[in-house]
């Protein structure tokens, strides 16, 4: 597992800390440490993965991600915290597929995809996680040809 370069501008360090620690742990493949900062009833919304749930569903998603891409590389492009306490993180996720992922069969393809995440914190705990990316771009990288035949090669 490659640690994130964690580059880019960061502001509001006291509020960003739980979020920065979350992403550092994910970059290290340590989902347990990442979710130690996430409230059990946190709202997790990841539309491209079809996830609308709580920390349990979020943990399963990130566990599947670090399993499918054991050489995961996260590069933080930009992160800032708004006056309402939400932290926006733009990052690039890269890795070589080593297991089926979000329905796509493992063909050992390289994935590089731009994502944006919004995490809200309260009293040091992460209370919500929202993520966006283009699933078409992900499928294109993993050699999926049709949206109704994701598991076919």
């Amino acid at each position: 597992m490659t640690a994130s370069p964690m580059t880019g501008s960061q502001t509001g360090s006291q509020q960003v800390d739980p979020v920065a620690q979350f992403w550092r742990a994910i970059a290290d493949g340590d989902v347990d440490t990442a979710f130690a900062r996430v409230a059990d009833d946190a709202k997790v919304e990841i539309p491209p993965a079809g996830i609308l749930g709580t920390a349990k569903e979020g943990r399963e998603f990130f566990a599947a991600t670090v399993t499918a891409f054991p050489d995961l590389l996260l590069t933080i492009k930009k992160s800032f915290t708004g006056s309402d306490g939400a932290t926006i993180t733009e990052l690039k996720l890269e890795g070589t597929q080593a297991a089926d992922y979000l329905g796509a069969i493992n063909q050992e393809k390289h994935l590089d995809i731009d994502q944006v995440w919004m995490l809200r914190t309260d009293n040091g705990a992460i209370r919500s996680i929202t993520g966006y990316w283009d699933q078409n771009m992900l499928y294109r990288r993993l050699a999926v040809k049709r949206l109704d035949q994701v598991a076919l090669v």
Partner: protein, 159 residues
């Protein structure tokens, strides 16, 4: 202390206000004013806008004036009832703004490789802006799930 806090609140609020005005203008389908809300050389990146052809990959990267404007105009042409709903705006006192926005419309004309079938879409987006000291947008980056939009419009090929 109080003055600094007030200045910070006003700065974040003014940047958020520019972005709110941008989406209000987009809802009115006034592309010229959308461009006027941006700095002359504003950067533009719609990351999901990626089309692979035999010899070239087309991307939605460049400047607002040369890439953003034709994309917005093309979207409105293909989806004449194109609209948006701003769900949240987050801003800091350095001009950074993020907006969660649901964009939707009914397809009446071709949009890239997607032939019109009279289908409608409604999809959450997250946009990251930077607003400069003159209260002009100098950077726009857009994120959304294009696969979801393609499904809603009945287009099932990834490319």
């Amino acid at each position: 202390m109080t003055l600094a806090g007030e200045r910070r609140a006003r700065s974040a609020a003014s940047a958020a206000g520019v972005v709110q005005e941008f989406f209000d203008t987009y809802r009115r389908q006034d592309v010229h004013t959308m461009v006027d809300l941006c700095a002359p050389n504003a950067d533009f990146s719609y990351l999901p806008f990626e089309m692979w052809r035999k010899q070239i990959v087309l991307r939605g990267d460049g400047k607002v004036s040369t890439v953003g404007k034709p994309i917005w105009a093309g979207l409105i042409h293909a989806f004449p009832d194109l609209t948006n709903e701003v769900r949240s705006i987050t801003a800091d006192d350095n001009g950074n703004v993020a907006a969660e926005v649901v964009i939707g419309g009914t397809q009446a004309g071709p949009w890239g490789p997607i032939a019109p079938r009279g289908q409608a879409f409604s999809e959450p987006h997250l946009f990251v802006f930077h607003v400069n000291e003159e209260n002009k947008i100098d950077s726009i980056t857009g994120y959304w799930d294009n696969a979801s939009i393609c499904r809603q419009l009945g287009h099932l090929e990834v490319d």
